[in-house]
Amino acid sequence: MKETLTIALPKGRIQKDTEKIFSNAGITIPKKENSDDRRLIFENKEDNLRFMIVRAQDVPTYIEFGAADIGIAGSDVLIEQGRDLYEPLDLKIGKCRLSVAEPVELKKSDNPGNWTHIRVATKYPNITKKYFSDKGIQTELIKLYGSIELAPILGLSERIVDLVETGETMRQNGLIEVETIMEVSSRLIVNRASLKTKPKRVKSLVEKLSKVI
């Protein structure tokens, strides 16, 4: 009897791409039976897998504490949270970049080379702080949980650090990217104890998925 592997998948943006990778690898993620189906855990009895769909930011937590063995999380979230996990696979989905942006008007007269102290609104306080402090720039951080683009419009901060996929949201809100902090993509993450105690199962899943990326 094979041991069960529990897999935590993020809700939202990359859910479709994730399902595609798994199905290409020959693994079925069971679907909701109807729109009233409120279950959070779905079993694939054939492969002895258990799937749960959770908030993207929560996936690394589930994995680090071993509530799930394997998960998928964005490299942005992983670096921001700094958790103790394995990241064996870049799934190359959910691609975007984390950038510094400011109002188009400000950009005209602004020179990032002269920044010494700036106020930044972001969902990523740790990455932002480290990025700027490595350059010797002090930051006053305003942590927001969403609609970051509003901050410069309403004068909450001059600049923001946020994810950019196409740049359309930024453009529509009168913002322009000034610097790219990092490229982002989704990673397969594995709990340390799971890899050590179920090495064969973990390795075979990683191999199956790596073949279809």
Binding site: Y86, P88, R192, A193, L195
Partner: protein
């Protein structure tokens, strides 16, 4: 809300009520029994020390997590111990330096660390039950002895389905010694090995330069060389592993001969404590429990730092993790 004097605790510390206190005491009694019957003697060390004294014997990561403060009368920096091992090294190199080797000591002590992690940096107090084996010469026999003590101790607490995962820092160090790249590039390579991120590792190696094609292939393979003891044989088929796995192989051989083969797994890509350990490292894991139950390894440079020529190896069991696991297995 009534206006009472506040009774809250700082984050990261806790009380223990009778039932759990009893479970912790019982786990401590079990490991004590094993440590004693394996010839280890108990010692006790103080909760605080001068940071200067602790630092040489601490893994850099632990040094950063120590809670520090100033001694009022002297202005010196003190720390609450984040680890007991440097204290044992100090004790052995001063008070016990004339005692004939081997010296075998154990302790059950509380340690305090600032929690790693992002949003809420809090202190974290844990109970560690550990042993230190100090010998004149290092060798696979002493490595095996300390690992067997660890396995027996965990067994005695009542945990059945655990594995002790072995690696040899010496193996990866031997590859690193051949790489001609900056310290920073090597750190980068180490980071991606730690994550088992083959893509990232490949990029880091190319960026670093100074890595031969054979060594690149070897390093990339290391990220998947984990599992049963067969991975050692798989590794030996790769170029550049000659002799570098001899010690680990011998340790596994001794453990298997003595009937502990089922209790061990291998992960050649484990680089935890890369700058601290010098040889075999190991960690205990149980299926379905996300945290390590114990951790340890060989740190041959440790006593030298305290002015004594001797080799040492040891481990510490996280007693509360063990108790938490036992509670879930009831």
């Amino acid at each position: 809300m009534k206006n009472l004097p506040t009774t809250s605790l700082p984050a990261g510390v806790k009380d223990t009520l009778p039932e759990e206190a009893e479970q912790i005491a019982s786990a401590c009694a079990s490991v004590t029994e094993v440590f004693k019957s394996s010839g280890f003697e108990r010692v006790s060390t103080p909760l605080i020390e001068y940071l200067d004294v602790l630092s040489p014997g601490l893994d850099q990561n632990l040094d950063n997590t120590a809670i520090k403060f100033i001694e009022y009368s002297t202005g010196k920096v003190m720390a609450i111990r984040p680890d007991v091992t440097p204290q044992i090294a100090r004790l052995v190199s001063t008070r016990l330096k004339d005692k004939p080797l081997p010296i075998k000591l154990f302790y059950i002590e509380n340690v305090m660390r600032m929690n790693r992690g992002s949003e809420d940096k809090t202190v974290c107090e844990t109970i560690q039950a550990g042993t230190e084996l100090i010998t004149k010469e290092a060798g696979p026999e002493t490595d095996a002895e300390i690992i067997i003590t660890a396995i027996e101790a965990l067994k005695k607490t009542g945990i059945k389905d655990f594995k002790v995962d072995l690696a040899d820092i010496g193996f990866i160090r031997s590859i690193f010694a051949r790489i001609e790249a900056s310290t920073e590039s090597k750190k980068d390579i180490e980071k991606f090995i730690a994550l088992k991120d083959t893509n990232g590792l490949s990029r880091a190696i190319d960026k670093a330069g100074g890595v031969t094609e054979d060594d690149k292939e070897l390093l990339l393979s290391i990220t998947t060389l984990y599992g049963e003891v067969e991975v050692i044989e798989a590794a030996e088929k790769l170029k550049g592993t000659k002799n570098a796995l001899g010690n680990l192989k011998k340790v596994v051989e001794i453990l298997t001969e003595k009937g502990y083969g089922e209790a061990i797994t291998i992960d050649l890509g484990e680089v935890r404590g890369f700058d601290y350990y010098t040889g075999i490292i190991f960690e205990g894991f149980a299926e379905g429990y996300g945290k390590a139950l114990l951790g340890g390894g060989r740190y041959d440079g440790l006593l030298t730092k305290y002015g004594m020529e001797a080799k040492s190896t040891g481990f510490a069991i996280d007693v509360e993790n063990v108790v938490e696991l036992l509670q879930t297995r009831k």
